[in-house]
Every structure is written in C-alpha cells, then in structure tokens.
C-alpha cells in the first residue's frame, strides 16, 4: 500500500461505520482504556515509579495538557511556549484554596480553570496581535515569570512550596488514595474525553473553521472577515482552561507543589508530545502524549536524559516528518501545503 498512514486507516473504518457501530467502537475503546490501571502486572509495568501513578502523571495528564496545547499550536497555529504557566496557576489555585478554605477539589476546579483563562486573556491581549515568533518568546517569558513570582511571593510559600494539599473527596465508588491512584486516572480520563468532545464539536463549527483559516493564512482570514483576534483569544483561553484544569488535579493528586515543578521544561515536554504525535490531529496528540509520557518511566536511559531526547524529537520530527506520527487528514494537509510558503 502506497503511503500508508494509520490516521487514514482509522478514519476509513470510522467513516464506513454506521451510528450504532460508532457508538460501539467508542464505548468499547473507552472501556478498554479505563481498564489500563489493572494491567500493571503485564509488560507495561514501569520499573522506576508505581505503575498506576505513572498512568496518572505523566501519561494521562500529559495527554490532557497536550490536547489543550494542541488547541493553540495545532488548531490555530500559534506557538505557545509558556503553557506551563496555566498548569502552575491551576496547581497553585488548588494549593492555596485547598489549604486556606474548606473548598474541595471539585469546587476549586472551576475557580482554577477560571483563573487560568483570566491569565490567558491577560497575556493574550498584548501578545496575540504579534507574529508567531514574538508570541513564542513572550509566552516563553511568561511561563518563567509565573515560576519566579511563585518563588518570590509569600502566599505561595516561596521555594518551599505548598505541602499537605487535600486529596479530592471520594465520588461514590471512585476512591482517591495515594497508594492506589486508579480513581485519579479515571477522573483524568473523563476530563480527556470532555476535552476531546469539546474540540471535536468546535472543530466542525465556526471557531474551528476560523482557526483553520487563521493557521493557514492569517492575513487572508482577516480580509475574509474572520475576526482573527477574537478567535485567537478563544483558542488561547480554551488551551489555558485545559492547562488550568490539569494543574488543579495535579496539585490535588500530588499533595505538594513547588515552583521548580513548573519550569520551562514542562512546556517543552508538552510541545514535544503534540509535535511527535502529529500537530493538529487529536488522535496523534494523544498517541504522542502517551508515548512520550510513558517511555521515560519505562526505559531508564530516557528517564535520565529525557529533555535531551525530547529536544531531539522536536528537531528530528520537524525536519523529517513534520506531520508527526499520525498526520492530519489529507484534505487539511493539502490545504496547508498550498499556504505553507506564505
């Protein structure tokens, strides 16, 4: 088969299926994925950290954040290198409110998301009018600034961080325990599914089309009457919202947060997940997040030099397979090729 790619193969199966079949495929894959925490005894076991913990962080949270970053980088083509900032804002919201108020994780979640979105708007207003590389460097600076602020103001407890953050209360049969993290995994899974659902809905509607237009040629989009600033802002804040949600959950799961957890490296790791899997394609991004989240815990060598490996991934993928493992649909790709040299 010439030019076989998994993405088209999967798409073909999906397009041939009728509605009940699609529901069956979706439900059974969700069911299989939710059984993953029980596979700890198999070849999937991780030698370095506990398997069920690895599934939550990095794997599932990486996937969630990659999906969020993909809204910004993949859908509307803006390079956000400060994604960690929103993650940190979520985590610190959880840390601060969890310690100083009686709110629980689920009540803090919307606040964390709201604050992350607010930060996204604040950062977006001055920067989203800029060209790609300026946006990249300003967001890069922003990510680092949030860390420095967390390091130097008193309510974050500076370099010592916040410890003893409360765990989420149990949701019926789903229990949240430090030594058994299946509950966290399922919750992140639900968040991932919600995010996928949101992206898929938006993609086929006005915002998705606007993003596509902006990504291919911003000037042309503007001329055609697309309010580019507005839609860029939406993609930026939606990405921030997902990052904030991931941060709240991470803070609550980890019980402890400190500024050094939120370095620029996290942004680069997530970017590597997006790029490796296939910029712009949800399934590719998920695969990228799973592989790059999981491998460093499976293979000790990668764990020691993970940033080196991820940096190499960025260079190699961009130079030799810019569409990543699972590229976007052919139709979208054809459009990109035409607009590429603009």
């Amino acid at each position: 088969m010439k030019n076989f790619n998994l993405r088209d193969f999967g798409a073909k199966i999906w397009e041939r299926a009728n509605r009940p079949q699609r529901v069956a495929i979706a439900l059974s894959s969700i069911f299989l994925v939710s059984l993953l925490p029980f596979a700890g005894g198999s070849f999937l076991a991780t030698p370095i950290a506990a398997y069920d913990a690895v599934l939550v962080y990095p794997v599932a949270i990486f996937v969630l954040m990659s999906l969020g970053l993909n809204i910004v980088v993949g859908k509307s083509g803006m390079l956000d290198l400060g994604y960690v900032a929103f993650f940190a804002i979520g985590a610190y919201t959880m840390g601060f409110l969890g310690m100083h108020t009686s709110l629980n994780t689920w009540e803090i979640m919307p606040i964390g998301i709201g604050l992350a979105m607010f930060a996204g708007v604040l950062l977006g207003i001055p920067t989203l009018r800029l060209r790609g590389d300026y946006l990249a460097i300003v967001t890069l600076g922003f990510g680092e600034i949030i860390r420095i602020v967390a390091l130097n103001v008193s309510w974050t407890n500076g370099p010592n961080g916040i410890s003893g953050i409360p765990m989420p209360p149990d949701l019926g049969p789903i229990k949240f325990r430090l030594d058994d993290q299946k509950g966290f995994y399922w919750i992140v899974l639900v968040m991932i599914l919600l995010t996928i659902w949101m992206i898929r809905r938006l993609s086929v509607r006005r915002p998705g089309r606007a993003w596509e237009a902006i990504r291919q040629d911003e000037d042309a989009a503007e001329l055609m009457g697309v309010p580019t600033f507005k839609y860029k802002m939406w993609s930026f804040t939606l990405g921030a919202a997902v990052g904030g949600a991931a941060g709240v959950l991470y803070g609550s799961k980890n019980l402890f947060i400190a500024p050094e957890m939120f370095t620029l490296n996290v942004s680069i790791l997530i970017l590597a997940c997006v790029v490796f899997g296939g910029i712009g394609n949800i399934w590719g991004v998920i695969v990228g997040g799973v592989i790059l989240g999981y491998l460093p815990d499976r293979i000790r060598f990668i764990s020691d030099a993970r940033l080196l490996v991820f940096g190499l991934v960025l260079i190699v993928v961009m130079n030799f397979r810019p569409d990543g493992l699972l590229p976007r649909k052919k139709r979208e790709k054809a459009l990109v090729k035409k607009g590429a040299d603009a």
């Binding site: 300026y134 600076g141 130097n152």
Partner: protein, 316 residues
C-alpha cells in the same frame, strides 16, 4: 526602597552600562539572524551559554589555571585574556553554525512553514542546554580569577573597576568592528542585500546559504565575545544561564528595533541600565520580571522598537 538607588546611583549606572555592553553583543546575535531570516534565533541563548564554557575551558585546561593560581600580570595576562576571548568566540561561533545546519537549513530548503522552523529551533536550544547539563552534572562552574578586580579610580563615588572598564572598552570595540564589517565588507553587503530582499539578492547571484551561514557565524562570534566578558566579570557559569541573558538581550534587540544593528546598541545599554536600576529598587529577584514587563510594554506600544521596522506588519 529608593535609598540604595539614590545612594549608589553612579555606581549602578556604571555597572549598568558594562552589563549593557554585554547585552549589546548578544542582541547583535539575535538582530543579525533576524535581519536575514526574519526569524528569531531561539538557540542564541544557548550559543551564549556554550561560549561562556569556551572561556573557562581556555583558562582551566589550556593555561592550567585553578582557583588558587595567582592572577598573571603583563604580557602573560594579555595573552590569557585574548586566548579566552578567541575560545569563547570559537565555541559560540561553531555552535551557531551548528544550529543553522541542524535546525534551520533543511527546513529552509524545503520551504516549510515558520512554525516548523520555530519548533526545530526550540528543540535545538533544548538539546544544547541539556547536553551541557549532563556534561557538567547540573553544577555551576566557577571560573578561576584571571583579571584582578582592581579599583582604578572613583568618579562621583562610583568605583571604576578594571574588569568592567575592559568590558566596556573591548565590547565597544568589537561592536564597532562588526558594525563596520556589515557596513563595508563585501560579505556584509551581501548580508544586507539578503535582509532587504531575499529573492532579489538571489537573482543578483548571492549565495543565499553561504550568507545565512556567515550571518549565524558573525552573530555567534558577537554572542561569544559577550560570553567572555560575562565570565570575566561574574566568574561563573551554569548550563541554564542562557535563559535570563537571552531574554534580556532579546528584549534589548526588540527595544532597539530588531534587525537594526545600531538599535541593538542603544537597546542593550538601555536594558542594562534598566535591569540594574530595577534590581536596586525592587530587589534582584525581580530582575527577570522587570525585563519581561519591558519586553511586553515595548511590544505593546512600540513594536518596531526605537529605531526599527514594525514587527506586527510583516506577518508570518
């Protein structure tokens, strides 16, 4: 809060200017590459970091200096300093050329979109800094003292120290040489031609790839010289120093108008002063935050910088 600032005003001004001259040379690295590629060289901060190790390798491994060695004087001192400068420039220059070859060349030849090039450059920057982190086991590396920090004279209560004075004079000289090179030499003319109009330059028979490589090299050499002065003044380096220095120098380049060589000069000095003043007023921990705020303000209100082109106009 303002006490230190008022008491030490001239001292701060003097150290601000010497820091500013270091920024000028790094900003030159950003601005030159931007001029020809219309793209930020994301790895420039790591080129700087590698340059600082060049100076330390020269003094430690070539001249066998260690922390207890008596600083040399006279001709020997001059020799050590010059070799250090050359080593820094060589390390940084070679790194810059490597960056161009690995991260930019192939993508340029294929004419892919800018996002891909940006990501590739970010990856390169990550690889360079991680390599050094692994080589140095994440530890800071001190530089043996080469140049005694002699206080030459006092002006209005400000101590004029030998190392900072040398930084200002030598960095100024290197800046003038590079500026003249771009202005007068044949290659410099080619660089300017490419930055004005790439296609027209190609039609005039200019070898684009060579010009771009030379631009990266010259930018790298300037950045490397900055790295040498940094090591001489601060006597220390680490795998992650590139980030703050890079952000500051980039801000300087934008402030002066990116792509504009003389703008880099004013931007660098202005930023050096701003940083030192801010550190005295707000505390050193807020240095990077100040720089970042300046960057955002410049991009917000005067994106073309003081002397440059508008960056919002020429979109990707």
């Amino acid at each position: 809060m303002f006490d230190v600032f008022i008491d030490q005003f001239w001292q701060l001004t003097f150290s601000g200017i010497s820091l500013g001259f270091i920024y000028v040379l790094i900003a030159l690295g950003y601005t030159m590459v931007y001029g020809v590629l219309r793209m930020i060289n994301f790895a420039n901060s790591e080129i700087f970091m590698w340059g600082t190790f060049g100076a330390i390798v020269a003094s430690r491994d070539l001249f066998k200096y260690n922390q207890t060695t008596e600083p040399a004087t006279g001709a020997k001192l001059a020799l050590v300093l010059v070799v250090q400068l050359v080593a820094s420039m060589a390390f940084a220059g070679l790194t810059a050329v490597l960056v161009e070859f690995v991260a930019y060349r192939r993508l340029r030849a294929r004419g892919t979109n800018r996002l891909a090039t940006l990501i590739s450059a970010i990856g390169m920057s990550m690889v360079l800094s991680e390599l050094m982190r692994i080589l140095t086991a994440s530890r800071p590396v001190g530089s043996p003292r080469i140049l005694e920090k002699v206080i030459l004279t006092e002006v209005w209560g400000a101590q004029i120290r030998l190392d900072t004075l040398i930084t200002i004079l030598a960095a100024g000289a290197i800046f003038i040489i590079l500026e003249r090179f771009v202005k007068l030499s044949r290659m410099g003319k080619a660089i300017r031609a490419v930055s004005m109009n790439e296609d027209a330059a190609k039609l005039m028979g200019i070898n684009l790839n060579r010009v771009i490589t030379v631009t990266f090299l010259v930018g790298g050499l300037a950045t490397g010289a900055a790295a040498f002065f940094y090591v001489t003044v601060y006597e220390y380096t680490k795998f992650n120093i590139g980030f703050t220095m890079g952000l500051a120098a980039f801000t300087a380049a934008v402030l002066g108008g990116i792509g504009n060589i003389r703008g880099a000069f004013f931007g660098g000095v202005a930023l050096g002063l701003a940083e030192v003043y801010a550190a005295a007023i707000l505390g050193t921990q807020w240095k990077s935050v100040t720089i970042f705020v300046i960057l955002v303000l410049v991009l917000l209100f005067k994106p073309s910088g003081l002397f440059g082109e508008a960056v919002t106009q020429t979109r990707a």
